[in-house]
């Protein structure tokens, strides 16, 4: 391996918790900690949900094994013999499976299943990308089916990847809650459409702890986004991380001072950025990328494969830009801001390359989505 590959088009770092339609709120919760008191009915509902997800995961496993048994090339067949094993890999078949996963209230599994349906035949290298997707979904299925035997933190990661969400209020005030107080520098804020809702992702980094955090909120027609933090702002506040083997998503607790302008963040080079992603993968294998600040990197046109890169100050190491997700406007803003000179960039570093979100000029400039 010499360079990160560019692969599945789905969003990196999306903790598999897409918004769900309004339902009895308790139904969205993970199995409650034993010490919490709950009505018997709610407990039964939660158990039934877990059973349905387990059934869904088992069904997915069967589909994946069928597909691998028949061969990935079967995935190219669009329809026709949907009854036979060959239909297992077609887009329609995966959509059907995804719909059943939604019924099973496992939106994380549903998203991955739907994703698989779109990979077959999608440009060069699709067999490799399809096999990766299948393998990681298989890993998640196995993890969920055996979740009781996993260490607590990894089990929490698996549950959240499957789509069992935790309410922010529970993260902030649950019995196991530990909040982290720090001066958090806002590195990026980006809104994106997710279905009918707007998802707002705010990346922060603690000045003292150096920890990265992601604040994720959803807004809709009747639910305005309540938190807005422009990049460059320094926030003295408590954050509580959602449980997981590699905590990133966090809920915002008490703020201790009004937001103030912050400094240009310190960062690392290309090697360290890739290493940070590699380290994070050891704990959460489903991560597509990890947030990093790069210091003194220069955008270069035309790497070996003709794509844009970010190169280290030494001019030898480079990271391809993730052109699947980086829009034309953002690319040229980045190039223009650099003017061929090194800049500080924050973004997501992963196996598809680097997605820049904010450039410092020296004031932070959010790149166009």
């Amino acid at each position: 391996m010499t360079a990160p590959e560019r692969q599945e088009p789905h969003k990196a770092n999306r903790p598999a918790q897409p918004p769900e339609p309004a339902r009895p709120p308790k139904a969205n919760e993970p199995p409650p900690p034993p010490e919490r008191r709950q009505s018997a009915a709610a407990r039964r509902r939660a158990e039934r949900r877990l059973e349905r997800i387990a059934a869904g995961a088992t069904e997915l496993e069967q589909r994946l094994e069928d597909l691998l048994h028949t061969g990935l090339s079967a995935a190219l067949r669009t329809d026709g013999d949907g009854s036979g094993p060959g239909g297992a890999g077609s887009a329609g078949a995966w959509d059907e499976t995804a719909a059943r996963m939604v019924d099973a209230q496992a939106p994380g599994l549903a998203a991955r299943a739907r994703e698989l349906g779109s990979v077959a035949g999608s440009g060069p290298d699709w067999p490799s990308r399809l096999l990766e997707g299948c393998a990681l979904l298989h890993l998640l299925d196995q993890g969920f089916l055996d979740v009781e035997r996993l260490p607590a933190a990894l089990a929490a990661t698996v549950r959240s990847r499957v789509g069992l969400t935790t309410e922010a209020a529970d993260v902030l005030s649950g019995p196991d809650t530990v909040t982290v107080r720090d001066r958090w520098l806002v590195l990026a804020q980006r809104d994106g459409a997710e279905g009918p809702l707007t998802a707002r992702r705010i990346y922060l980094r603690g000045e003292r702890t150096g920890r990265m955090a992601l604040h994720l909120s959803y807004g809709g027609p009747h639910r305005p986004l309540d938190v807005s933090l422009p990049p460059g702002v320094l926030l003295d506040a408590e954050l509580a991380y959602y449980p997981g083997a590699r905590p990133l998503r966090a809920a915002l607790g008490a703020r201790h001072a009004p937001a103030a302008p912050g400094p240009v963040p310190s960062g690392c080079g290309i090697d360290a950025a890739l290493a940070a992603y590699g380290h994070a993968l050891r704990e959460d294998p489903w991560l597509d990328s990890w947030p990093v600040v790069l210091t003194d990197v220069t955008p270069l046109p035309g790497g070996p494969d003709g794509g844009w890169q970010l190169a280290d100050a030494d001019g030898e190491s480079a990271l391809p830009l993730d052109r699947r997700r980086l829009g034309r406007a953002a690319l040229w803003q980045l190039v223009s801001l650099s003017g061929g000179a090194p800049v500080t960039v924050f973004g997501e570093c992963g196996h598809r390359g680097f997605l820049p979100l904010t450039v410092w000029d020296p004031a932070p400039v959010p790149l166009s989505p």
């Binding site: 360079a3 096999l131 298989h138 190491s317 480079a318 190039v335």
Partner: protein, 563 residues
Amino acid sequence: MTTTSATTPPTPAPALTPPTPSAAPAAPHPAPWPELVRAALLGTGRRTPPVAVRPGQSPAAALLDAAAVSTLRRRAALRPAPAGERPAPAPADPRPALPPAARRRLALLLADRGPGAEGRRGTDPDLTELLPQWLAAAGTHGYRAPEALLPALLDVARARTDLRPAALALAGPRGLWLARLNDDWKFALRGTAGPLALPDGTAPEAVRRRWEEGLFAERVALLTAVRRRDPQAGLELLATTWATERAEDRMLFLDCLGETLTATDEPFLEQALSDRSRTVRGTAAALLSALPGSALGARMAARSLACVRLSRPVPGGPGALAVDPPRVCDAGMQRDGVTGRPPSGRGERSWWLGQLVAATPLDRWPGHLGGRTPAEIVALPVAGDRRTELHDAWCRAAVRQRDAAWARALLGAPGDPDQAAAELAPAGSSRDLTKLLTVLPGDERARWVAEFIAVHGLADAFRMLGVCAVPWSEPLGRAVVDALDIARDAGSYPWSFSGVMGLAERCLDPAAADRLEMLTAVTDEPEGASPGAGGYWSEAFQRLVGTLRLRAAMHAELAGEPS
């Protein structure tokens, strides 16, 4: 610190897929990724995959296990790619950055560049029409563009050629640096190779080579550029290939000389009067007639002065002009550019006379007519029905020779009730008052148009307004607003005046907004008014006021004033 990560044992994810039992017969080392992909494509039903299969496990599941381990191993071990070639850094731009408010404004103006599809109703200002003003104003302040907005600025310049010069000036050296990296913005590089820059500075061989090998448009740009720096050198360049150029090209190259005409061009132009092509001869004659002190001017004067003389019907009484047009169009006249055959409907003698007078230096007339000033000459009665054609010819001469005194005399006083509209543009006249106005100095021009509008209204004023300096002077702005007010009271619809309204949004001094504010109220509709006109007028005035206030804010922001 949170406890979650602390309590997690450092279990690598692949632990989810248990390690291969040692009893497994397959290779202890996992197969390389391409082999796994090949096996997956083929299907485990057809061939046993190169992976270890645990008891009770299907080969497909074993292949998925191995693929998961391999995927994570590859992702976790990603290495940097070798860096490509580094572009030369952008040259420094020492100009100051925009004030923050102006920067935000530019971002807004650039974001709103969809065509105004919903037409010109409503009360919102038309931002696309403000961008040109913003760019022009920013240009006078000497700011550099915000780097983050350069891509949008170049996109706008690509879409709107009218904005290119101002947008590229603002974009500056970094804009050009950026344009070199993106084929979409190649136009920006062509722009600089045009009239503003010569190839490689001044190397004569390079200039000569481009002149000989360039495309027509490039050659025109080159000739113009060389002429601006050194008219004589430009003429010599043109002379090197003159004999071999096509007639049409010869005429257009001659046109290029007009901008920087000097006395040293005269011999060349005299020669061109004998050109094979009639259009080339005509162009050369027109150029020579605009060249002060030219021999052609003297020849034309000799001819036309002979046709126009002062007569005194009563000795000592007021003079009058007697006009006796030439009887033939001889070879000499034709060589000097006079066209022999008149357009249909015109007598050939008056046609010839018009051409002679138009090419006669205006400064020859006072001496010929008893030392009278241009105004006195214009006031002289003209015998017969020759007045219109004589004045029309003088108008063309005043425009061609840029003679303000004559233009002033010919335009007269528009507010003078004695001088009716019929007098300014009499029937059968070909005179172009707007062209004549451009000869006057700016403030005088605006004053004249203001008086014209006060007397004649807006109906014929659109083109005249277009040649007045922006922002309009106070008297001119007042005249336009008053005329709009009168038009409203007359009960017509505002879109009958949409051309003038659009101009007013761009050209009125923002200080006029307060006075206009009073007009935004919906008035009682006068008798016989078009239905609903009052509301539309109110809307139109509101938009006008809104636009003016926005322009005022723009200028304050650019000046760095706190809003």
